[in-house]
């Protein structure tokens, strides 16, 4: 059985031999890059893993307790300190927060993207906006919210502005990237007809951009929903995240955490169905 396989594998490799003569260096560069990156990542991981487990740590005990908590969460969800209706209310707040920040973010980011696409803007402006956005993106959302909660006071204002910061920076980049992907010929054609910039943006760029604009904005909405929960917990900005934080770290009530996780999963399921539909429409 081994022999025929060997015989088959030789002729399949041969024809690719001579063809490889030119792309060989190109392929080698890729291969070396991948292997080197994997080696570095593997080394870091293997060096880090042993140092993470603290001394006098009872791994089995921790795992047992973790399994127990998972079981309580998923198999015995129950409410004690709060009602289902009030939880629905705070879930709604988190959704509203995600919606509002996505809306504001996508409008602002659209104008920033116009000013930072290579198709329309001068290189210096493109580089300036892109690096500025890269710095904003580098700061985690939670830190933005904490910083603004000192300036505006803890509450909705800080949460909205904080999450919006990151959304604008993220969406500016992806919108600008999709504009860069547009064929330069389309803009050239419009210029050849003597159209002004405003007309080119409105009549040529926007109609071509709508599908990718929609799908990126939706992806950002999903991220903002996760961020809204995280910010609620870590910065005390309200919503279901705050309840989650209180139940788990003050009341140590994992039954209640289970209910909230189920509620969040249900909403995530809705989002996933919508995104599946959107992708189906896009592929048509």
């Amino acid at each position: 059985m081994i022999k025929p396989e060997n015989q088959i594998s030789i002729p399949t490799q041969l024809p690719s031999g001579p063809r490889l003569s030119i792309p060989l260096r190109f392929r080698d560069r890729r291969r070396v890059t991948i292997l080197l990156t994997l080696a570095v990542l593997g080394y870091i991981t293997l060096m880090t893993l042993p140092t993470m487990i603290p001394s006098h740590f009872k791994l089995t005990e921790a795992l047992m307790s973790f399994a127990e908590n998972i079981k309580i969460m998923f198999l015995q969800p129950r409410l004690v300190n709060t009602t289902f209706i009030s939880l629905l209310g705070v879930l709604g707040q988190s959704i509203l927060l995600a919606f509002l920040t996505t809306l504001i973010g996508s409008v602002l980011a659209f104008f920033f993207a116009l000013a930072s696409t290579r198709r329309l803007a001068p290189t210096s402006l493109v580089l300036g906006i892109q690096s500025f956005m890269a710095v904003i993106r580098a700061i985690p959302t939670v830190l933005w919210v904490l910083i603004y909660s000192v300036v505006f006071g803890l509450g909705a204002n800080a949460a909205v502005v904080g999450i919006t910061f990151h959304s604008v920076a993220y969406l500016t980049k992806v919108y600008a990237d999709s504009m860069d992907e547009l064929s330069p010929e389309i803009i050239e054609t419009m210029q050849a007809m003597g159209l002004k910039k405003s007309a080119i943006i409105r009549q040529a760029i926007i109609p071509n951009l709508i599908p990718s604009y929609l799908s990126w904005t939706f992806i950002r909405f999903e991220i903002n929903f996760a961020d809204a929960i995280a910010v609620g917990a870590a910065a005390g900005a309200g919503g279901i995240g705050y309840q989650l934080f209180m139940s788990s770290s003050f009341y140590f009530n994992f039954h209640e955490v289970g209910v909230m996780v189920y509620m969040i999963l249900a909403f995530a399921l809705v989002l996933e169905i919508i995104s599946y539909r959107l992708r189906a429409v896009k592929h048509q």
């Binding site: 389309i186 007809m193 003597g194 007309a199 009549q203």
Partner: protein, 256 residues
């Protein structure tokens, strides 16, 4: 109408893609530029409306040199120069009629461009033009649903919407089937004869050039090697256009 004098262009500073190109285009005539690929046909066409900035020479359109215009003057001059592309370059998600109407936006205000404001007269003209190219029934179809030949005819209607004095066609039939080719070429010839528009076409099909052109310009290696009435285009002249001066060695290497 249009006169090009001593046009020169180099891409990387050394190798010249155009060395010294001069020719004229007359109203009501179909002028065809032929030559091997890489000879500089597209560069010539794009230099005329300054989509490519050339290095040297003079491009006289209505007695003004296109090369000397500032940005807003250039934009206004471009409004009277129609252009047709091999890949049609329509805005595919929009309808045929919207694409045709884009042709008149160059002369209109920012506001009109942003809110798609067109006068009744412009709308009427756009419909007449679609009728002229035989696509009246497709006015409200999205362009992405049209066939290649139909797209090119929308492209022609869009160019006509500019009320152009000249139409530049960059390989207009290269992506079309034989039947659409004839339709499109017939329309272009008709524009020259009946509307008095100058039509300047880049082609690589010599037989089509012979059939439709009034005037033929042969380009090889960035130089004009033939410039005469179509009747003078003998077989020997064609061989000359495609071989004389030899294809640069560089492109031979690429063949292998």
């Amino acid at each position: 109408m249009l006169t090009v004098n001593h046009l020169a262009k180099s891409y990387d500073g050394e190798k010249k893609s155009l060395t010294d190109v001069s020719f004229s285009v007359h109203p009501g005539e179909v002028t065809v530029i032929i030559g091997p690929s890489g000879a500089g046909k597209t560069t010539i066409l794009r230099s005329i409306n300054q989509l490519i900035r050339d290095d040297d020479g003079e491009i006289l359109f209505d007695d003004t040199d296109m090369r000397q215009l500032n940005r807003s003057q250039l934009r206004r001059a471009r409004c009277r120069i129609g252009m047709i592309f091999q890949n049609y370059n329509l805005i595919e998600p929009l309808t045929a009629i919207e694409n045709v109407l884009h042709g008149c936006l160059g002369t209109k205000s920012n506001l009109a461009g942003i809110f798609s404001l067109y006068s009744n007269r412009e709308k009427e003209t756009a419909l007449k033009l679609l009728e002229k190219v035989g696509l009246k029934d497709f006015a409200y179809q999205q362009c992405r649903n049209l066939s290649g030949g139909q797209k090119q005819r929308v492209g022609i209607a869009r160019a006509l919407m500019q009320h152009p004095k000249i139409i530049l066609c960059d390989e207009p039939i290269a992506s079309l089937d034989p039947k659409s080719t004839i339709t499109v070429m017939d329309i272009l010839r008709d524009l020259a004869i009946n509307d008095g528009i100058s039509v300047l076409i880049n082609l690589h099909q010599v037989d089509i050039a012979r059939e439709y052109a009034d005037h033929v310009i042969g380009i090889n290696n960035g130089q004009v090697v033939f410039d005469d009435r179509t009747q003078a285009l003998s077989d020997a002249a064609i061989t000359g256009i495609y071989q004389k001066g030899a294809v640069p060695e560089r492109s031979l290497v690429h063949e292998f």
